[in-house]
């Protein structure tokens, strides 16, 4: 009689420990299965990592790649719809520093895990965030692979442009008021990697005067169409005939999509554009 009780107790205890250890090992291996992204670039990165099946919601701005358009929309980058998010019952929310801080606080109070990715300002930060994202969704190896590949390609480009002439460049990311890309933006990395000199690099704020541009006389002007009419801006610049960029007809318009929401892969692609802009004579750089 006693023996059987002891026996059952032992069996129970061992089963219990077995279950506990099983659940533990599972815990360390499980990754969030229901992910909401509050940033177009994170959405794009999730697709790149092959984790799109875990993405259950994103913002109305997430239109690339095509599949993201059909995902459930939970608001814009800045204003999120809390009700929608709670209804979707996510395991984790990937937010940015643009996300409304009150909403972030609220979601935390509701017990939803939220990971904030501050807007990365240069290629290194971009890579680190990409790796972090990979770790979170359980695609660490793939993320490392992609980052290493991008870094290699960039090294090749850097080496090739090193010995070329370094033209000065002004990148305009907003008009009225004139707004320049400083080292607060990715664009500065594009310019440096592609072998150019950003005249607004050390400017404290992006606000830049036209006089200063004319004084510094950049060889190249790039206009990023961020809701501004690029052609109109080109015309305005063309009034200043003394500018080297006007003389040599080196004013370019770039699509803001290519510059703003970046993944390590699209970074390399856009960098190639910059190389072409800065070194038109070597258009056929073999990458």
């Amino acid at each position: 009689m006693n023996k059987s009780i002891v026996g059952t107790v032992i069996v129970f205890i061992s089963v219990f420990f077995l279950l506990v250890s099983l659940s533990y090992s599972e815990n360390s291996e499980t990754f969030p299965q229901r992910v909401i992204s509050l940033s177009p670039s994170i959405t794009e990165e999730l697709y790149l990592l092959g984790a799109e099946d875990k993405l259950i919601g994103c913002t109305t701005y997430c239109i690339r790649p095509k599949g993201a358009k059909t995902k459930e929309k939970v608001g814009t980058v800045i204003e999120v719809n809390l009700e929608k998010i709670v209804m979707l019952n996510p395991d984790i929310i990937l937010a940015t520093s643009l996300t409304d801080s009150k909403a972030v606080e609220k979601l935390k109070n509701l017990g939803i895990k939220i990971e904030s990715f501050p807007a990365s300002k240069n290629f290194n930060e971009l890579c680190n965030q990409f790796l972090k994202l990979g770790k979170i969704v359980g695609k660490k190896n793939k993320a490392e692979e992609i980052v290493n590949d991008a870094k290699n390609k960039i090294d090749i480009i850097k080496r090739k442009t090193e010995n070329m002439p370094h033209p000065t460049i002004f990148v305009q990311i907003g008009s009225s008021p004139l707004f320049a890309a400083t080292d607060d933006y990715f664009i500065d990395d594009f310019i440096n990697f592609a072998g150019g000199i950003n005249i607004a690099e050390n400017s404290k704020s992006g606000l830049y005067s036209r006089e200063e541009v004319i004084k510094r006389n950049p060889d190249v002007i790039v206009i990023v169409t961020m809701g501004i009419a690029g052609d109109k801006e080109v015309k305005i610049w063309k009034n200043y005939k003394t500018l080297m960029a006007v003389k040599n007809n080196r004013i370019y318009i770039l699509d803001s999509y290519r510059l703003c929401s970046s993944t390590p892969v699209s970074f390399v692609d856009t960098l190639k554009d910059f190389v072409e802009i800065l070194h038109p004579e070597k258009r056929k750089i073999n990458l």
């Binding site: 608001g75 800045i78 719809n81 801080s101 009150k102 606080e105 609220k106």
Partner: protein
């Protein structure tokens, strides 16, 4: 006299019923489709799950905050309009909101709000208090609070602070800029229950205290001199009313941002229907402001879901149109008479 009081009680009853109806409506409406049946069943038994948390953690706090802020804005609007005998005065005219906005902008660009979310409302309130003291000190002359001076100083200070905010915005980084712009637009989303409770407490206390001055306000509406002849200590009244209304505004703005139009339109609206007696105007404006803001917030968060509009957009469009309609109608009726 008796008749009047009965009429007022009816008005208060009607407004109270409206408030309740709008609150329930707001609880039932949202981007997450929760049927009315479900809402009712959830109301009477505690539960867990996402629907319960949407109702009680997301919608309910907004309704309560809407009640407090709407009420506070309506109340301070009616007090200020009565005090200044100027129907264009609104809670934001005196520059107190500008001070709060300046405080919040400073906390955003200095990065302090990242350390603690509470820093934003705290800084906002500090900014408001500084401006209140400044305006008060500037318009006190030999122990007399000059009303015209008060108004002019207030308007000037609000211009100065809005220029300073623009200065901050122009030198701030993109992310901070978004923070400032969205804060200024105003929102009833507030994660902190404590702040919501304080808001309710402050607006109800102010409503209570303001009732000590309802007769004084009635007398003041005849003019300062007449009020003085009627035996009212106008200096004390003016000072206290200014302090009550500006603290109300300062707190509302620091919690919910600048939600325009409620404080301007609601008192006019109530006056149109309930007359010029401040005994009914005070509570009437409080309740109407609360109804109006809760309703506008419900519209703002559900009209183009999943995107939420800033509530100020709706208060402006809805309030302005309604008011112009009411005004023209009233003129037609008056013309017929």
């Amino acid at each position: 006299m008796r008749k009047k009081i009965i009429r007022w009680i009816i008005w208060i009853g009607v407004l109270g019923a409206f408030l309740l109806a709008i609150s329930v409506f707001s609880l039932c409406v949202g981007s997450a489709d929760i049927s009315v049946k479900k809402v009712i069943s959830l109301l009477f038994k505690a539960g867990s799950g996402s629907e319960y948390s949407i109702l009680f953690d997301i919608r309910l706090p907004r309704i309560i905050l809407g009640f407090a802020i709407g009420g506070a804005l309506g109340l301070s609007g009616v007090i200020l309009q009565g005090m200044f005998r100027n129907s264009l005065v609104e809670p934001y005219t005196l520059g107190i909101s500008g001070g709060a906005a300046l405080g919040v902008s400073l906390s955003i660009i200095s990065g302090l709000y990242r350390i603690n979310v509470l820093n934003m409302p705290v800084f906002g309130f500090l900014g408001a208090v500084v401006i209140i003291i400044l305006i008060y000190a500037l318009s006190m002359q030999r122990g007399i609070l000059k009303m015209q001076g008060l108004l002019l100083t207030g308007v000037m200070i609000s211009f100065i602070s809005s220029s300073l905010i623009m200065l901050i915005m122009s030198i701030s980084r993109a992310e901070d800029l978004h923070g400032i712009v969205f804060w200024i637009m105003g929102s009833l989303e507030e994660p902190n229950w404590f702040l919501i409770k304080i808001a309710v407490f402050i607006s109800l206390i102010s409503l209570f205290v303001s009732y000590f001055f309802c007769h004084d306000l009635n007398a003041l509406s005849l003019g300062e001199e007449e009020a003085l002849h009627l035996g009212i200590n106008i200096e004390r009244t003016k000072r206290l009313l200014f302090l009550i209304s500006s603290l109300l505004v300062g707190y509302s703005v620091s919690v919910a941002g600048i939600i325009g139009f409620v404080g301007l339109v609601v008192p006019h609206f109530v006056r149109m229907f309930a007359g010029n007696d401040h005994r009914i105007l005070l509570i009437g404006s409080f309740l109407t402001g609360a109804c109006f803001l809760i309703f506008c917030d419900t519209v703002a968060r559900s009209i183009i879901a999943p995107v939420e509009l800033p509530v100020g957009v709706i208060t402006g469009i809805l309030g302005g149109t309604l008011f112009v309609c009411a005004l023209t109608k009233k003129r037609i009726i008056a013309g017929e008479k």
